[in-house]
């Protein structure tokens, strides 16, 4: 059946504008921190409409949309300040469970993800295993129908507000370190788990350390085969390769920063500075337009079943840096009045009484763009390896 993409876009736009609560859109529009409190009701609204899982097949409650439709959906959401869907359940572990989970696991876990009732986080990174994830050491040994898990995860986003953690653990020491890794689904209220917040420079709470001390995890919570976790982990990352094709959030960001510059730097005194910042934004826009065009090519390639090649790495590298440039312009516009008012002396969080403080937080936070999800250096290694053929 031919899809009328223009009509689809209109339908999604109408939905975004009328059904996403204004208070939720306001959080996105002002860069306030997205937490489960914001995400969950939005997921419930989408689910009630049958749009809970744009990337899942219909038989699991997904929409069955094609990549082009999914791309349009993501784009329209960003254009209208609707939160991007919470990724850990829907985009990460959900598809893995669909592909490799048992029917029992599918029946047990997918409905909660779809309805937004269960909240998931990703326990991959460890203190000693970041870019080199395969060197992870958190160990699980078999004891009857359980695994006993010991070790530490770190940088675990949202662990403090999650019910479940999907994680990679070591079940055997093999010659090749990608082998002997197993994927387990661990309830975060299991005895032996301690979650400690990590204080980050932006003043928001996203990441945590998760300590696992003799945590008992039923074998029934293992995905696929023991020792094959790396394959499932890679599948998960590859599913995300089109993520960078959505340039809409970056463009939205740019537009908002442009408004900020105009509001913040008025009159003759600020004329030169305003012009300089506007020029930097224009240069960023030029780059984003390039990325936008590449994003469209990537979606077309997926639609036609052609390989993506280096496009995902190229998109990730360039948009993450442009995001940072735009955030720097914002910081230059507001820094003098807001960077000094970061934390109130009588509170421990960011200074809610300094209007616009999120611009400063966002500038700090944006540094992570080139670090997580495959750092810039790692992306460059991937690109160079392919370009040089070795």
């Amino acid at each position: 059946m031919e899809v009328d993409y223009a009509a689809f876009r209109r339908e999604v736009t109408e939905f975004a504008r009328t059904r996403c609560p204004p208070e939720i859109r306001a959080v996105v529009a002002t860069y306030r921190k997205l937490s489960r409190k914001i995400w969950q009701p939005w997921q419930q609204i989408l689910h009630a409409h049958g749009w809970g899982a744009p990337s899942w097949p219909k038989r699991f409650g997904g929409t069955g949309w094609d990549p082009q439709q999914r791309h349009i959906f993501d784009e329209v959401m960003a254009e209208n300040d609707c939160p991007p869907q919470y990724h850990h359940g829907l985009r990460h572990i959900g598809p893995v469970i669909i592909e490799f989970g048992t029917p029992e696991q599918q029946a047990r876990f997918l409905p909660g993800i779809l309805s937004g009732e269960d909240w998931w986080c990703q326990g991959y990174s460890e203190p000693g295993a970041g870019s080199d994830l395969a060197s992870l050491r958190t160990a699980a040994r078999r004891e009857g129908d359980d695994y006993i898990v010991d070790g530490q995860k770190t940088w675990t986003s949202h662990a403090h507000e999650s019910d479940w953690m999907y994680t990679l653990v070591r079940t055997a020491k093999e010659a090749k370190k990608q082998q002997g890794i197993t994927m387990l689904l661990i309830p975060l209220d299991s005895p032996g788990i301690t979650i400690r917040p990590i204080r980050t420079i932006d003043g928001w709470h996203h990441v945590n350390e998760v300590f696992l001390d003799k945590v008992r995890v039923p074998v029934a919570n293992r995905i696929g085969e023991e020792g094959e976790g790396w394959t499932y982990g890679k599948f998960l990352l590859e599913r995300e390769r089109l993520g960078g094709a959505n340039v809409a959030p970056a463009l939205k960001n740019l537009e908002r920063t442009r408004e900020l510059v105009a509001q913040e730097l008025t009159g003759e005194t600020h004329r030169a500075k305003r012009a300089a910042l506007e020029l930097r934004l224009l240069l960023a826009e030029a780059e984003l337009r390039g990325a936008l065009a590449l994003g469209k090519e990537a979606v077309a390639a997926v639609m036609e079943g052609r390989p993506l090649g280096l496009l995902p790495s190229v998109l990730k590298l360039s948009t993450s840096v442009t995001h940072q440039h735009v955030a720097e312009v914002a910081m230059d516009a507001v820094g003098e009045r807001l960077a000094p008012r970061f934390r109130r002396i009588d509170g421990s969080g960011p200074n809610a009484e300094a209007p616009g403080i999120e611009w400063v937080q966002n500038y700090m936070y944006m540094r992570v763009r080139t670090i997580y999800g495959g750092s810039s250096e790692v992306q460059k290694n991937v690109i160079a390896k392919q370009l040089f053929g070795s």
Partner: protein
């Protein structure tokens, strides 16, 4: 031997300041509440006051030590390496210079002994968009935001655009304050004035706009000195981190891509160091302050400082996003320095105006 940065101005005062700054940093980073940190800052302020830091540039006959710029520069170098979150440039140089210009001897003596803790408001201090700026016309009205301040300020020293210098106790009727911590952990205050009466003797001077401009440049120079020190320490600590951290069975320091990045940080640092050392020499030697050299240095601090700050964050990976790492706290100090005593755009405008 890995790189160790050498100070622009070394010596005993430098060593002492560095020790003190590192102690303060260790204490502060163990505290999580902003209020506790503010109390800790007060203790360290009292300590440096007791050591006579604020008396350094005050003339001997006004109760000071009668030192020169290089004496304060040594303190700023040492303090900068630990990112000491106290207003060194303002308290040790800018404020004393303005009080001296106004011949306010009593106040200078109090500053020198540390009993007066002055929050200095320069003419174009920040304000929120749409809010009324601070105006003086017999009374003081309006507000400014995010002004760096010593802990528990006792006085406001206000330099107006018209060249007046006013000094008021902070508990004067009609003045309200709101304290925050900046991104670099220093204290800042928002001030709001409503019908604040100014007595004739509270106007310390008139027609001293030139002195104000000069004092601001001194502040910018000191900020550059601190910034260079912080950047040197950041580079050292980045090298140490990369040498220790192993990924893919090898220290990160063995990856050429990262080694080159550190080399780039170093080139930026050296370039700035050269420029600041030159400005400092010129400032010490000449009668008139070399404002052009200082403006160029401050301009470069904005560029080079940000590069070094961003790079150290990047090379620390996830750790680069945390407050727990000393190099990252220093990076925030360097990021903040851009907005002190005129940002890049301010410096560029005056340089361009002069060239026109």
């Amino acid at each position: 031997m890995p790189f160790t940065a050498s100070p622009l101005v070394g010596g005993d005062a430098y060593e002492m300041a560095q020790r003190l700054a590192l102690e303060a940093d260790a204490e502060l980073s163990a505290l999580s509440e902003a209020g506790e940190q503010a109390a800790c800052l007060r203790r360290h302020w009292d300590a440096i006051a007791g050591l006579g830091w604020m008396a350094t540039m005050v003339a001997e006959d006004a109760g000071g030590a009668g030192g020169d710029l290089s004496d304060v520069a040594a303190l700023a170098c040492g303090a900068g390496r630990g990112g000491l979150p106290l207003p060194i440039a303002t308290a040790c140089v800018v404020t004393p210079a303005l009080l001296a210009a106004a011949s306010a001897r009593d106040m200078l003596a109090q500053v020198a002994e540390g009993s007066a803790r002055i929050c200095l408001i320069l003419p174009d201090a920040a304000q929120d968009p749409g809010a009324a700026g601070l105006r003086f016309d017999r009374t003081l009205e309006g507000g400014v935001v995010g002004v760096e301040t010593p802990p528990d300020p006792t006085h406001l020293l206000l330099a107006t655009a018209a060249g007046e210098l006013l000094l008021l106790p902070v508990d004067s009727s009609g003045i309200t304050q709101n304290l925050s911590l900046r991104i670099d952990g220093r204290l800042a205050a928002d001030w709001h004035c409503a019908g604040v009466a100014v007595a004739p003797d509270q106007v310390l001077a008139r027609g001293i706009a030139d002195h104000v401009a000069r004092a601001r440049d001194l502040g910018a120079l000191l900020t550059c000195i601190e910034g260079v020190s912080a950047m040197g320490a950041i580079i050292e600590q980045t090298i140490a981190f990369l040498s220790d951290r192993v990924q893919f069975n090898a220290p990160l320091a063995s990856y050429q891509a990262l080694r080159h990045r550190v080399a780039e940080m170093y080139v930026e640092y050296e370039n700035l160091r050269g420029l600041v050392a030159h400005a400092l020499r010129e400032a010490a030697a000449a009668d008139a302050l070399p404002w052009r050299d200082i403006a160029f240095a401050k301009l470069r601090l904005g560029e080079a400082g940000r590069l070094v700050a961003h790079e150290t964050i990047q090379m620390h990976g996830g750790m680069g996003l945390t407050e727990g790492v000393a190099a990252i706290r220093l990076a925030r100090r360097v990021m903040m320095a851009e907005f002190e005593f005129g940002d890049r755009s301010f410096q560029a405008s005056r340089l361009l105006a002069q060239a026109a």
